[in-house]
Amino acid sequence: MSALSARDGLRRLTVAQGEMKVSDERDVVLTTVLGSCVAACFYDPVAQIGGINHYLLADGNASDPASMQRYGVYAMEVLINAMLARGAARSRMRTRIFGGATMRAGFRDIGGANIAFARQFLRDERIALVGEDVGGTQARRVEFRAAVGLARCRSVVDTAPPPIVVRAPPPPPAAVGDVEFF
């Protein structure tokens, strides 16, 4: 979905849960709304290309931690690979993370688990985490000018947060773990 804002002339592309987008176009803003989900914005200042994902690893049923890890690593790897394919270098990548709010008191801390995964992943992969706006109790709208590396995050007040899909994170286009022998 794309919308041209009369206000600033920038094209806005929406990133839904389970999706990722990469752009090197200076007039493109990648935007997403987050509740418990986390979005990681990656940027390579030399290649002037960036990308954002939007993932939900945990659900309300105490997901298997190993399964969460596999989906989380997948969500990150797909985005990183898409950037590498367009000229980015892993060693130059800078990342900001957003989201991970606690949207419903009394429930398991889904947002916290999503934040913890992102921080651990970036530490393990030695990718710089240069900023974050995470936690709290309010939904957020993230706008990311990927080609410029500018990210803006605002609380979404008096608006219903995006619904939490109470099941495993969206699978990749191909069947998960499918095996094909040659």
């Binding site: 596999r70 790897e77 992943f121 990749p172 773990g177 095996v179 094909e180 022998f181 040659f182």
Partner: protein, 131 residues
Amino acid sequence: MTEFAPREPLTVAKTIMTVDDSPSMRMLLRVALTDLGYSVVEAEDGVHALEKLDGFQPDLLITDINMPRMDGFGLIAEVRGQGRRSLPILVLTTESSDEKKQRARDAGATGWIVKPFHPEKLAAAIRRVLH
């Protein structure tokens, strides 16, 4: 008849080399494969894998495709070019295009697994090529 020492293992764990530039993915594979009873040797790209394969023969190679220095296609071609025809090679990647599968097939890969891997499907694929 020779008796086994009581504490001597009756079998030797088969060795799987995993090749992936992501430390997180190598860790996930290490945990999954050691849980299945395999011994794991890791490399972070094709060049690193070839260095480790010098004088060493694993029972199975599992490789990513998108890696720096030497990608999975290059690694498979090099390994087959060294005459290692019997070494099974499984590709484990986020890619799923027919064109890339064909490239892997042409290079000499044994099979293709789409990430994120499902532990039981991975175990079944390994059993099929190792046993």
